[in-house]
Symmetry: C2
Subunit: 299 residues, 2 copies
Amino acid sequence: MSILVVGTVAIDSVKTPFGVREKVLGGSATYFSMAASFFNKVNLIAVVGKDFPGNYLKLFEEKKIGTDGLQIMDGKTFRWKGCYEYDLNTAHTIYTHLNVLQKFKPQIPKSLKNSEHIFLANIDPELQHDVLRQVTRPKLVACDSMNYWIEHKRKALEELLPKIDILLLNDAEVRQLTGETNLIKASRAIVRMGPKAVIIKKGEHGAIYFSRNSHFIAPAYLLESIYDPTGAGDTFAGGMVGFLSTVKKINETSLRKSIIYATIMASFTVEDFGVNRLLHVSKKNITARYEQYRRMTKF
Amino acid sequence: MSILVVGTVAIDSVKTPFGVREKVLGGSATYFSMAASFFNKVNLIAVVGKDFPGNYLKLFEEKKIGTDGLQIMDGKTFRWKGCYEYDLNTAHTIYTHLNVLQKFKPQIPKSLKNSEHIFLANIDPELQHDVLRQVTRPKLVACDSMNYWIEHKRKALEELLPKIDILLLNDAEVRQLTGETNLIKASRAIVRMGPKAVIIKKGEHGAIYFSRNSHFIAPAYLLESIYDPTGAGDTFAGGMVGFLSTVKKINETSLRKSIIYATIMASFTVEDFGVNRLLHVSKKNITARYEQYRRMTKF
């Protein structure tokens, strides 16, 4: 029942109105696997450079995240630098240095080819195809993408959609992919493109799940302090796939629950810079916040 | 158990990306009373000019809204013209002609002085004070305001707050009133200023209820077509106070339910221009949408 994630492991520098952090551990696969590790064994498929700090590798070990599929290549690790204004919903990229990511070819170790729960984090859709070609009959494939791939690799992305179960995008990406402003119409258009369901991530305004037969709205968890929204979307996916990997049957009930766990995990991430908050969360904290969320939304 | 509302009755002109309407019935008290009339008898305290169309008066009659407190003064009715861009969350005012509203002094007819449920719609807080001086022991006082009064009549508004039960504001107004960006901190600051609770209206992103002991988040009802957001906030208040006027006891449970009814009523209003949609909604439609909302949010 283990989880496989393919995505980026990065060295991030970030500035928000609440502080600055240089060269911290980041990347979509990092946030995802940290969040999912609270629920189940996660295996990481990614690449880093020879410069990747050993103490960051240790953080994966501490969370028992499998790194057999983590390639260490000659060269520098993928680096991203970004900043946020007071509107924490929008990241402004200062630079993206792909470095070793340019040569990345995901190789799924033999022992992981029958992984049942797969998350294709935000990378080139052609690499996402590569991953699906290497695995056998997963129970769940969830997938993220971004504006860049929608614009520059639309065909590869469209060909991927019928092969996945759940597509996760933010509201702007959903509108870009479909040309529809209204989120119901846009969601319906996406489901027609192939995936069984789409989840629209709206940051501080929550998330919407939309499938052929139903839709579900989950407001975000209300927080008093938000320091750094980096990684919130990947943490969200980690909470979702993590929880779904623990249930006997993926159905409407477990999917809805998984979106609440996703929301809760994301709420932790943004309370500190980088993965700091995730390193100090306990299962007890998660359960407590889940119960508090239930109280906050019950009527 | 009847409801009293003091506010504006207006003649609105509005332009949205989906059309233009000239000189339609509008005003805070209008939207409120139309929405609340589905739940209980509503009495209107407002002023119009001699130019006010008879067929608009008839609309109030049709909804059995009491107009004994509707003054008809020499002069022209209050007029507002506004437009919305594709971001329907922000209204841009083209003009506001106060006309007879400048001379308005709310007079509560004797028979209405013991009204139990009062809504002080968005008008000068000094007039809101006037109303409270004229009524005897209401069970519930809810109150709206706006950026203009927060800036220009802050003292009168602050003196009003300890006299009301629930303050309704949008997120920008909550931040302006308190100087706090974070909505939890801002809500806490407002509750310290006097009201038992505050409701933050976030338009398409739903509403947050915050009292001394609890908070409650309600996402908006998902809609496929939004034509005109004018009056959504007042309709919201009408649904809320309307429902609360029908319950034996106003407590956490009934308050939360009232916020869902508020959300539902607002969802109808924005589906057509002006009050058009509210004129054609049935109680059955309201119940059906309430049940659909429950399905949409259950987990």
